[in-house]
Each structure stands twice: as structure tokens, then as C-alpha cells.
């Protein structure tokens, strides 16, 4: 148990170091985020039509969805076969997938929070219950990373993995996205927190299911190169 914990810790550290050293990856994602949000800002201010609140909410989550797909997609796809082969010889499959999920969770949390700040700067802030909204962002970051990490490892095994990532991932993420939008709608309108309780519970259940199935299934996938 301790050795697995150590292994996970080392692997997460390795991922973070790699990300910090290859600055282009992180700065690329940030630029992607900024330009998408700016695109939303420009196109919506073009017709002088103000963004109403439901649209604000949905647009935010759609942008986050696309950022998540493209940033998590690279977690397995960017690595060369030799690199993966090397990991297989030194680590457990479980610790590889867990460390990837943790790292993608941290990365997504960073991107989602930065995205939120840029988004409210450009498109205004109608959110009334900010702590709940940020808690929801946290759930969203973990949820995206839990579902998309496994999808990314599946897609990386096939050819044209970029398209596969989207078509395999989107149907699976839809229920989660619906729940996230519902909770953030509650946060925006500043409703009583107990009303979002059901959704948060279901959301956590989905995340736990996604993580456990990833851990169970990844060992069958990892050596098939």
C-alpha cells in the first residue's frame, strides 16, 4: 500500500515537473482558454446583444468542456511508445492511471479557475453564491479528469485519436455536464444550498464510478501497444 502511494506520488511529481519544463504545453492551453473566451466576448458584443444568464452559464461550461477535451487528450497521446514502455517496466498500471487522474485534476482545476477569472472579467459576473460556484468548479475539474483520462488512454491506442477523443468522450460526459450546469445555475441565482444537494450527490457518485472503472479496466489496456 505504502509503495503504491509512493509510486503515485513520484509519478504525479514527474508529471508536474514535465509540465513545468515543457512550458509550451501549459502556456498553449492558457492561450487556448483566453482566445476561446475572447472569441465568445467578441461575437456576443458584436450584435450589441447582452448575454442573458442561462446563456452565460451554458457558454462557460461549453468552453470548459472543449478546454478539458484538448488538454486531457494529450495526457496519453503526447507520450511516445518508448516512453510508455518504460513506465510499464517500472510502475503498476493502477498507480499510472491514478497519478494521471490526479495530475489532470490539478491541471483542470488550474485551467478552470483561471478561465473563470478571465470569463467574469470579460463577460460580467452574475454569480451570487461564489463559494458554491467554486465548489462546483472543483467537482467539474475532478469529473472531467476522471472521465477523460480513461477515454484519452483508449483513444491513444487507435488511429485518428483526436476525433475519437471527442466522439467517445462527449456522450459519456453529457450527464455530468447537465448536472454541473444545474448546480451552477443554482449558484448563479443564489438559491438555498440544500436545493443543489441532490445534484452534488449524484455528481460525486458518477465521479466515483468513473474512477473505479478506470482503475479496474486500465490494466487490460496498458500493455496493448
Amino acid at each position: 500500500m505504502v509503495t503504491i502511494m509512493n509510486e503515485i506520488w513520484t509519478l504525479v511529481k514527474k508529471e508536474v515537473l514535465l509540465e513545468l519544463r515543457l512550458k509550451y504545453a501549459l502556456s498553449g492551453m492558457l492561450l487556448y482558454l483566453v482566445s476561446t473566451i475572447f472569441l465568445g466576448y467578441i461575437t456576443f458584443s458584436l450584435g450589441k446583444a447582452s448575454l442573458n444568464i442561462p446563456t452565460w452559464n451554458v457558454l462557460f461550461w461549453i468552453i470548459m468542456l472543449f478546454v478539458a477535451t484538448s488538454s486531457i487528450a494529450k495526457s496519453f497521446i503526447q507520450e511516445s511508445k518508448e516512453q510508455l514502455l518504460y513506465y510499464y517496466t517500472i510502475a503498476n498500471p493502477q498507480s499510472i492511471i491514478i497519478s494521471k487522474i490526479i495530475f489532470n485534476g490539478i491541471l483542470m482545476l488550474f485551467l478552470v479557475l483561471t478561465g473563470f477569472i478571465i470569463y467574469i472579467l470579460l463577460l460580467g459576473n452574475p454569480v451570487q453564491d461564489i463559494p458554491l460556484f467554486i465548489f462546483n468548479l472543483l467537482l467539474g475539474a475532478i469529473g472531467f479528469s476522471a472521465s477523460f483520462t480513461m477515454i484519452s488512454s483508449i483513444a491513444s491506442k487507435a488511429s485518428n485519436s483526436g476525433i475519437l477523443m471527442a466522439i467517445l468522450g462527449f456522450p459519456i460526459i453529457i450527464p455530468m455536464l447537465l448536472l454541473l450546469i444545474k448546480v451552477s445555475k443554482n449558484a448563479i441565482e443564489g438559491l438555498d444550498r440544500t436545493t443543489a444537494y441532490d445534484e452534488i450527490l449524484t455528481l460525486s457518485a458518477i465521479i466515483i464510478i468513473a474512477i473505479t472503472t478506470s482503475i479496474i479496466l486500465f490494466p487490460y489496456l496498458w500493455r496493448s501497444n
Binding site: 491506442k157 456522450p171 453529457i174 447537465l178 464510478i209 468513473a210 478506470s214 487490460y220
Partner: protein, 206 residues
């Protein structure tokens, strides 16, 4: 099947004769879920044994599941036209089944994008199980949390509570079994063709 067109049905307001669609629409959904569950079971078996035949069975049952899903949507659409007044309504159950169909179509795109048979089997089996575990329970749970136009959801009573009288039951349960067996039979035909072509391939290789 013929009996389904002929028996006396309770004439309820709105539903009228369309209640006969119960034998098609509802029975097809039941059959679809049974077929998809069989597919997932064989995917798990494939991961355990790495036997190509298991993969063939899993994929063919998923194909039949999609066919039944499309049939279910078509019959449901016709039924919706006459009871709710429109071909397609924004209903959580409809959305959920659309998601399920998208997932299984993605499953086939994934299959077609991998060349190697062993690898194809393993990767698509992993996706099949992952998708089933992550999304299919939600199709049952989410519509029950929100309002739906379907009976048994959001304050609408289920069929069984007042109008599924015993005459309907005598056709409905055999209809479920019949549609399922029909699906199994079709799937079996396709599985046998695939197995034979596998044998032929091996023969030619030798």
C-alpha cells in the same frame, strides 16, 4: 404478435387504440436493454479469456441493441405524434436514449479505427464496459429525478398502477420475450457468419 392487434384494449382518453403500441415500443426497449447487457457481459468475458469469439458476440449484440434502439425511437416517435402531439419532444428519457445510441455508435467507430483483431477486441471491450458503467445507469436514474412525459415519471403514474389490465399483460410479457428472442436470433445469425469467415480466413492462411 397478431393477437396484439386483435384483443380488446382498454379505451383510455388520449391513448385510445395507440395503447397497442405498448407491445412494440415498450417491449422493444426492454429487449434493447437485455441485448446491451448481454453485450457488456461478453465484453467482460473477453477481457478475462481473450477469446476472439467472445468479442464477436459482444459486438454483434451491440449491433442488435442499436437496431432495436432505432426501432424503439421510431415506434416511440409515432406514438408521441398521436398522444403528445409531436414527433419529438424535449423529454429527459428521449435525450438519455439518444446519448445511449451515440455511445454505441462511437463504439463502432472505435472498432473500425483499429486494425489488429486482438487489440480491437480488448480496447473496444474496455470502452464498452466503461461507457456502460458510466452512462447507462444514468439513463435509468436521471429521468426519474426530473419530470418526464413518460408514464411513471414526474408524477405521471406508471402503466401497471391502473391501466395495464390483465389482457394487456398476456400479450406484453410474451412480446418482451419474443422481441428479445428475435434479437438473439438475428445476432446469432451474424455471429455464425463471422465465426465461419474466421474459419475460412484461417483455412486460407494455412
Amino acid at each position: 404478435m397478431i393477437y396484439g392487434f386483435l384483443i380488446e384494449v382498454p379505451h383510455l382518453p388520449i391513448l385510445n387504440e395507440t395503447v397497442r403500441n405498448l407491445f412494440f415500443h415498450v417491449a422493444i426497449w426492454f429487449a434493447m436493454f437485455i441485448l446491451l447487457i448481454v453485450s457488456v457481459v461478453y465484453s467482460i468475458k473477453y477481457l478475462k479469456t481473450s477469446n476472439v469469439k467472445m468479442d464477436i458476440i459482444a459486438s454483434e449484440f451491440a449491433t442488435m441493441g442499436i437496431v432495436f434502439g432505432l426501432l424503439g425511437i421510431t415506434t416511440g416517435s409515432v406514438w408521441a405524434r398521436f398522444t403528445w402531439g409531436d414527433w419529438w419532444v424535449n423529454d429527459p428519457k428521449l435525450n438519455a436514449t439518444t446519448i445511449a445510441l451515440l455511445i454505441y455508435m462511437a463504439y463502432f467507430v472505435l472498432r473500425s479505427s483499429i486494425e489488429d483483431a486482438q487489440q480491437k477486441g480488448r480496447i473496444s471491450a474496455v470502452y464498452n464496459i466503461f461507457a456502460f458503467a458510466a452512462a447507462v445507469p444514468l439513463i435509468f436514474i436521471l429521468p426519474r429525478l426530473t419530470d418526464s412525459l413518460h408514464p411513471g415519471n414526474g408524477g405521471n403514474p406508471g402503466f401497471s398502477s391502473y391501466d395495464l389490465d390483465n389482457n394487456l399483460r398476456t400479450v406484453f410479457y410474451p412480446a418482451v420475450i419474443g422481441w428479445t428472442l428475435l434479437g438473439v436470433w438475428f445476432a446469432n445469425l451474424r455471429i455464425r457468419i463471422k465465426k465461419l469467415s474466421l474459419v475460412v480466413d484461417e483455412y486460407q492462411l494455412n
